[in-house]
């Protein structure tokens, strides 16, 4: 056979809950119970509230640049539920707040962080989350490494999930993480939130491939594209991937097709580059709308419950913002203390004097006269 096919592949797309809130019962089997659906809906709604308040805080000058999650919440909650809190690790990007909350990150940390305070990344004991990743597409290697450790130590019931955007898949580190994970066969779930945009670059210009999911084929990884605004599909794909991971089946890839309903961040103005019509079409696919429709159709939700939830969300978020604001301001030298487990002497001097100058740092130095001492 001098000329024959050596490899063939296809990419499947999974949707279980459609835009109108209609569920495919067969596919939904063994996925989410109605109680779980209500729980996830509540998580999404609270997260949406937080997002809106964070936006207002930024606009009123009380918070720095903030990236809204709006429209993508189903990816976060559906996948987070399929992972095991306090057992598995979450290696996030920055657009999956709800997943972090579900895995134990106190909500006010996220506000504190975006208010310019690194202590918002000092997660409590037992919260297995790495800090938000600022250099795009570089953190997935850490997920591969953590998963490798699980394999090495034969902690067979543990897995890792890492989140990243469509843009992130262009970075070399993305491919490095995928290749290592595949070669080492580690228990890792790669979750790409394909929200169609990377700041101003549409997905079609980010890559020439028809899907993001097919990138995993090169690493021989089980891969699937799901409707990322459908909590059922997201949950099922992640549940399958995690099961495979802990059973020794290696890493998996999930592309959640979703949409960024807000600007890239509060520093961005998407009207400069994005068609309003495209945005409007996606507003109807909002995961909150379809999940609510579904819950109403099966009789577990009504206007009264919605009103209660909205009030509750407001109260929760108000408390969260109050908690973030009431954190005492950091000491001016606070950024020294965690540079190393043990601060080098030189750095202690810099911290204790807040000086970097060669003369002023050492006033006893011969030649520095009384006038200078006074300047201290």
């Amino acid at each position: 056979m001098p000329h024959h096919t050596v490899y063939e592949a296809k990419i499947e797309h999974l949707q279980i809950l459609d835009e109108d809130g209609k569920l495919d019962k067969k596919l939904a089997k063994d996925t989410l119970s109605d109680d779980q659906v209500v729980y996830l809906y509540e998580q999404m709604r609270v997260c949406r509230e937080l997002d809106e308040i964070a936006f207002k805080l930024q606009r009123s000058g009380r918070m720095g640049t903030y990236p809204q999650n709006k429209g993508q919440e189903a990816n976060a909650v559906g996948s987070a539920l399929a992972m095991v809190k306090g057992n598995d690790w979450v290696v996030p990007s920055y657009r999956e707040n709800a997943a972090l909350f579900m895995h134990g990150m106190p909500m006010h940390y996220v506000i504190q962080y975006w208010m310019g305070d690194e202590r918002g990344s000092k997660f409590p004991e037992g919260v297995n989350i790495t800090p938000l990743s600022v250099p795009i597409g570089t953190h997935m290697l850490h997920a591969t490494g953590i998963a490798w450790a699980f394999k090495q130590r034969k902690e067979a019931d543990r897995a890792v999930i890492t989140y990243f955007g469509d843009g992130a898949t262009s970075e070399g580190d993305f491919h490095n993480a995928m290749n290592f994970a595949s070669v080492m066969q580690v228990p890792c779930v790669f979750y790409c939130q394909n929200n169609s945009w990377a700041i101003s670059l549409p997905r079609e210009q980010q890559m020439n491939s028809a899907t993001v999911a097919q990138k995993a084929l090169a690493y021989d990884m089980p891969t699937i594209q799901v409707d990322g605004n459908d909590i059922f599909a997201v949950y099922k794909a992640t549940q399958d991937a995690r099961k495979r991971a802990i059973e020794g089946g290696g890493p998996s890839f999930i592309e959640g097709v979703t949409y960024r309903l807000a600007d890239h961040t509060t520093a961005d103005d998407a009207r400069r580059y994005r068609d309003e019509e495209e945005l409007h079409a996606w507003l109807d696919k909002d995961p909150l709308i379809r999940t609510r429709k579904y819950m109403e159709s099966v009789g577990v939700w009504d206007d009264k419950k919605q009103e209660d939830l909205e009030n509750r969300a407001k109260t929760i978020v108000k408390e969260v913002v109050d908690a973030a604001i009431s954190v005492p301001a950091p000491e001016s030298s606070e950024f020294f203390d965690d540079m190393y487990a043990e601060l080098p002497e030189d750095l202690k001097v810099q911290r204790d004097t807040m000086r970097t100058s060669s003369i002023g740092r050492n006033p006893s130095q011969i030649g520095l006269n009384a006038q200078a001492a006074e300047i201290q």
Partner: protein, 324 residues
Amino acid sequence: MAQQTLVGAITSTLDQALERDPEVILLGEDIGTNGGVFRATEGLMAKHGEDRVVSTPLDESGIMGTAIGLAIAGMKAIPEIQFEGFLGPAYDQLVNHGGRMRTRTRGAVTVPMTVRVPVGGGIHAPELHSDSPEAIYTHSPGIKVVMPCTPYDAKGLLNSAIKDPDPVMFFEPKRVYRTFKEEVPEEYYEIPIGEAKTVLDGDDLTVVTWGAPVFQCLEAIDNLPEDVSVELIDLRSIYPFDMDTIAESVQRTGRCVIVHEAPLTCGLGAEIAARIMEECFLHLEAPVQRVTGFDTIMPYYKLENEYLPEAPRIVKGIKECLAY
């Protein structure tokens, strides 16, 4: 002549370069339709076309590496890295290829590219958006490094960088992008790479700095007693830097304070201080004083002003050096 901001001067200089030379090509993240996150390339894609002002995939190694290839093929590549914190993925391409190509091939293969990068703190940006890594690239042989801080200098140095036959890091102090306007001539002009500018003449002490801290130094000097006469040198070019101007000044004043945002240890101030020791030792009245960032991670914005060498800290440094 037109009144322009620093970022405005960069935009119009790029515009003229695209106009003048069909081999000029701009590439970077979000530089097309969006005009770059700082709007430095605003309107350029619409005017010069998508194939000359190219919004690339999100891949700094790709941007730097292909810019090197474009340059090798004889084009004038002007890559933009969105923030200095994202030079990381591009480092290998820039330092291990860009800076070495000419000498490895003894001049047969060269890399005439200008890498534009917003740099420095003071704008309340997210983590990794406020660093000052100029010393890293100064320490990397084969690469030139400049950092203008006025609209006029930006145009002249950008023209020189684009014309230069070797890779030039063109650092743009983002804190100064829109703080003021000044007259920038319409016509083409160059400011040679390697020439410092004496901003203020003085006799008692020399302050050497570059980038945004030039303005903190001006503020500090304003706050000194009237009878203190300080000479202020804006280095503008970091590699090669203008040791002649520094030496002439320090030999006269006998005292020198170097100010930079980057960390103290192995910052450029260390190199300049060593050169002053070599060339001005017998003229010195005091040890060279450095007022810089700390040897820490540049803190997120709540504490960034504690880190940056702001005017009060510079005043202190100058007074101590004078009192020595």
